[in-house]
Symmetry: C2
Subunit: 247 residues, 2 copies
């Protein structure tokens, strides 16, 4: 019998074992080898200490996808791991693009808790109405596209989760983003929240206004939440109403 | 010693046990009583057959929140369950609004896989770039607000996940939504996908163009995905590129 050629693309959630779904645990257990960015492999390796691993550094995403597909072709089951969800700025997309040339390899996407959800739970319910997820990283996306999306999100009074709000060389991107939101209709008093190191040791959270956010430095481990016009702070929680009467 | 007054608001994901996170399992196990919409209680009751349950019908959300808070005050730990995520159109928001008047009750939000993530994994990677989640239900939101958000999402070339695309009395809302997307810049050839009964018996998926979506009837068990200008269909998967070169 032929071996099955199979790559699981597994969303780990924020990292700790408690955020894994049962489906993700099953896929990791079934895999012969775990493949991913070094930091994410380090999160999951303690749970599966006997697995073979293939870990490479940041910006090596395409290499990891190619390695995963070639290794699957050789008959090993590969779990390509991502933090958060497999699809949201994760590896499912490049893996499926490359898998077009490997029709013999089966690909199964295993979803996970993206930071918009896990971070929102820390703050309360900031994304309880229509929302946008936007990455401020211009490594793969022209800044003009990001600007346009920020403007449209503000014009539509969406709640927002902003990913990759900062990194080396992009210290002022969040400030620029906040200005675009304000220029396109977000009130400076809009309720906002920051969650750093979601679900990991040293997790911190902070509530602030959009005007305060403009003057706040964040790092790459932070996810930024911006409310809509109705979002409130209630007992130190950020809560976007769904619109029920009589609440 | 005083009993602890505690409500967990637990996102179950699509429903099956495999989509529960370990954190959600722990919360459900710790609870004295499970409270929720009858359909969701039925999903989770088989896993915890010995738990007390309080299940009520659709549109009884506020009653359930009040019951959860009152029951927690009496010293029982309550798990208020939601399908998908606790925060995304879930019960975290109304519960936290009402909990403002019950400062003695501790509230812990337990995130779960919302349909945008679990449905995306079925289709491939449709939400791999900036995306919006919009509900087409006008039960709690004026239709004019929904229209405006659809227009802004299209103008920003966001990927979209559309929730509640149809129900009794709203058979033509998806059609209206598609027209708004097209009028605001979405190409009729934009790749789209439908997933019905995500993660449940009888799950089905379908890929189609935005023009075809306009002429397609869906029901309330369906989540609709609309790509951005770069979204492709590759080997029967809906894939939004992240923008890597050399893929």
């Amino acid at each position: 019998m032929m071996n099955r050629s199979l790559v699981y693309v597994v969303g780990l959630g924020p990292g700790g074992a408690q955020y894994l779904t049962a489906q993700a645990q099953t896929a990791l257990q079934a895999a012969d080898v775990l493949c991913g960015y070094t930091v994410y492999i380090d999160l999951v390796r303690p749970l599966y200490p006997d697995k073979e691993v293939y870990a490479t550094g940041m910006t090596r995403e395409i290499d990891r996808c190619r390695w995963a597909l070639e290794t699957a072709k050789s008959g090993k089951i590969v779990a390509l791991v991502c933090s958060g969800d497999a699809g949201v700025y994760g590896m499912a997309s490049p893996l499926l693009e490359l898998a077009e040339h490997c029709p013999e390899v089966e690909v199964e996407i295993v979803p996970g808790l993206t930071a918009a959800l896990s971070g929102a739970a820390v703050l309360g319910a900031p994304l309880a109405h229509d929302f946008c997820v936007i990455s401020l990283s211009d490594r793969l996306t022209p800044w003009a596209v990001i600007e346009k999306r920020l403007a449209c999100a503000a014009a539509g009074d969406f709640c927002l989760a902003l990913y990759n709000p900062s990194s080396k060389g992009r210290a002022d991107y969040l400030q620029k983003a906040v200005r675009i939101l304000r220029d396109n209709g977000k009130d400076p008093d809009t309720a906002c929240g920051l969650v750093r190191c979601i679900g990991r040791d040293g997790q911190t959270a902070r509530l602030l206004t959009l005007a305060e956010l403009e003057d706040t430095a964040v790092d790459m481990f932070t996810t930024v939440f911006v409310g809509n016009a109705a979002t409130q702070i209630l007992q130190d929680r950020m809560v976007t109403p769904r619109g029920y009467r009589g609440v």
